[in-house]
């Protein structure tokens, strides 16, 4: 550890943070200047969007289904397991691990898509 850095005063969000970032011109130029780069980027975008929409549709099913189940199906809200309402086991407990699994699945797949893209660019 060297000497402690000089103390600076920070008074507001730095709106120029964007400009201070390290420059990454290579891929930017590659994409802008070649038709191939354009195709690669479009493919990456499509793959990620498809993945996101698939997760959204799956989760959307839960979203649309659960409230309808509780409100429209007679008896669904009244069912109990011993003294514990089933509705709570489903919407208060079980739903969270499912959402977490969906999130983990998305991260794994999105990283795979990015790895493929990286390999593609490296092998070019």
């Amino acid at each position: 550890m060297g000497p402690a850095p000089k103390r600076v005063r920070v008074v507001s969000p730095r709106r120029d943070a964007r400009r201070r970032k390290e420059k990454r011109p290579d891929a930017v130029e590659f994409t802008e200047q070649t038709g191939l780069g354009e195709i690669y980027l479009t493919a990456l975008l499509r793959a990620q969007l498809r993945l996101s929409l698939a997760i959204l549709v799956a989760v959307g099913g839960i979203l649309v289904g659960l409230p309808a189940l509780f409100l429209l199906v007679p008896g669904a809200a009244a069912a109990t397991l011993g003294p514990v309402p089933v509705i709570w086991l489903v919407a208060g407990v079980a739903v969270y691990p499912i959402v977490l699994l969906a999130a983990r699945l998305h991260v794994r797949m999105a990283e795979r898509i990015e790895r493929d893209f990286t390999d593609l660019m490296a092998g070019r």
Binding site: V11, E32, F70
Partner: protein
């Protein structure tokens, strides 16, 4: 409530306030460079950062409001905490990594980076301030409610305490940016809600698992309590609110800022997954407290809001020292919720007021003589005073409902801006501005109409549509942005392709790949 009980509660609240200011001051002393302040020197692990996001996100609506609404309206309302959690899943799959890669620190930053337009930036700034204020309102109301329930003090006192503590720590220079403070708040809140919940649930189990006296055909936990009329058109209201929660979370002023602490887009994704786990763990408990409330508090004293059921429950289950102690723990946790959310929001709102709305005007008037610190402190004061005053004027809505309106406005304005900005290359400056203005006007108009009680008590669709506007205002905002963009291809920013590469390409590509030779 007896003096001993209020003594415990007061002690817990003071302890939380002092600890918050003290840890904030300590952290501030330890952070020396700009990088320390903004991104904690980039040494914060994903787990700490996720705890900080959770700490800032779990507000009065989560700590008191969820239990209150499940207590009063029944287990139909269980989807509400689910929606609060799902917002982060939508944020993850649609915008988390691209937003981090954009390098934007706030939503106005993103608007300017993606669209190269000062005009869109200005509109986004106004929306951030409006949403932030609306979200701050219930934090103050919740604080007043908590202090009143525990000590019998006037609600104005609790609001004032939160306003002053937040103002002091924010103006002093940034409790909010110190990740460890917010991370500590998450674990504090989780402990403060889970420990009383386990104890009370155990007492309920040992006491022979009594059921609520309510005789509702849908079951003792399902229907609304007699004192709280079931809402009209519940299915529409449910879907509309869920839509607002799912697409509003990403547009909240204090959410994006935290993602900047992640070193890259991949870390932003992984952090979000941990956030979902942390929120899920927290939201296991408020519904249990709400349902136990139905067993032990079949009706609340006249004039008591359902939001205070969490604080009243322990003494109803086990009168005496144990009940008082549990109440005190819950009150302390609730105050942690108000403080962390309110300070996160205040810094975001004050930053925008300072940068985009105040400094320009002040520089013109004073010739740039005013030091930056002064203008930020002035902005913090404005950022707190307006919602603090409003919390006196608009006492009607429940905590969860007011927060829901903030989500609805965010989902109708900044949500579509972020989603279209991240995924659609042909978004034009004019289209983005039109979407923001149309969505903002509709959602804010509906909110104002609801606060003033337009159509209340008529029993028709109008009050329901106004109270939960997201289901119509969000699609209209999206459609407007898309149609206007298609009609104005000339105002698509020239660097749109460059911006898209930046948002979506993994960092190792943009850092490593050489340009094609020749």
């Amino acid at each position: 409530m007896n003096t001993l009980a209020s003594g415990w509660g007061l002690f817990a609240i003071i302890l939380v306030c002092v600890a918050t200011v003290a840890v904030g001051a300590l952290g501030l002393r330890m952070s020396r460079t700009t990088s320390d302040f903004y991104v904690a020197g980039r040494v914060v692990t994903a787990g700490w950062n996720a705890s900080a996001i959770g700490g800032e996100y779990l507000s009065a609506a989560s700590f008191l409001g969820v239990a209150g609404i499940i207590y009063s309206l029944g287990t139909h309302m269980l989807w509400l905490p689910v929606g609060y959690t799902l917002g982060y899943l939508i944020l993850l799959v649609l915008v988390a990594a691209p937003l981090r890669r954009s390098g934007a620190y706030t939503i106005p930053d993103f608007a300017e980076a993606r669209l190269s337009s000062r005009r869109v930036r200005r509109i986004a700034s106004v929306l951030v301030v409006g949403i932030g204020w609306l979200y701050l309102l219930p934090q103050f109301q919740g604080a007043g409610l908590a202090l009143q329930t525990v000590t019998g003090a006037s609600p104005a006192v609790g609001s004032l305490i939160v306003a002053v503590v937040v103002l002091v720590s924010v103006a002093a220079g940034g409790m909010r940016s110190i990740t460890l403070v917010q991370a500590m708040q998450y674990w504090l809140k989780l402990a403060a809600i889970s420990i009383p919940c386990f104890v009370l649930a155990w007492l309920w189990f040992r006491g022979g698992q009594p059921l609520p006296s309510l005789t509702d055909p849908g079951g003792p936990f399902a229907g609304a309590l007699p004192a709280y009329p079931m809402r009209e058109h519940p299915l529409y209201a449910t879907y509309s609110t869920l839509l607002a929660l799912c697409f509003g979370t990403m547009g909240l002023p204090h959410v994006l800022v935290r993602f900047y602490t992640n070193p890259d887009g991949r870390a932003a994704r992984r952090t979000t997954v941990i956030v979902i786990a942390l929120l899920g763990a927290f939201y296991l408990f408020p519904p249990v407290l709400g349902m136990l409330g139905r067993v032990y508090l079949p009706s609340l004293p006249a004039g008591t809001r359902a939001d205070s059921v969490v604080l009243l429950l322990p003494s109803a289950v086990t009168p005496g020292t144990l009940g008082d102690l549990l109440s005190a723990i819950l009150a302390g946790g609730a105050f942690a919720a108000f403080l962390s959310t309110a300070s996160g929001l205040t810094v975001s709102v004050a930053g925008v007021i300072d940068q985009d709305l105040l400094s320009g005007a002040m520089n013109r008037r004073l010739g740039g003589d005013l030091p930056r610190t002064h203008s930020f402190r002035l902005a913090s004061l404005v950022a707190i005073l307006v919602p603090y005053a409003a919390s006196w004027l608009a006492p009607g809505a429940t905590l969860a409902d007011t927060v829901g309106m903030a989500f609805a406005i965010a989902a109708s304005t900044l949500g579509p801006l972020l989603i279209l900005g991240v995924w659609w290359r042909r978004l034009s400056v004019t289209g983005a501005a039109a979407g923001l203005i149309v969505g903002g006007t509709l959602a804010m108009g509906a909110t104002v109409a609801t606060l003033f009680g337009v159509g209340r008590g008529t029993g028709g669709w109008l009050p329901v549509l106004l109270a939960q506007p997201a289901a119509w205002s969000m699609p209209i905002a999206f459609t407007t942005a898309v149609l206007v963009s298609l009609a104005t291809p000339r105002s698509v920013p020239v660097n749109a392709a460059r911006a898209m590469v930046r948002l979506h390409a993994p960092e190792e590509v943009t850092a490593r790949v050489r340009p094609p030779a020749g």
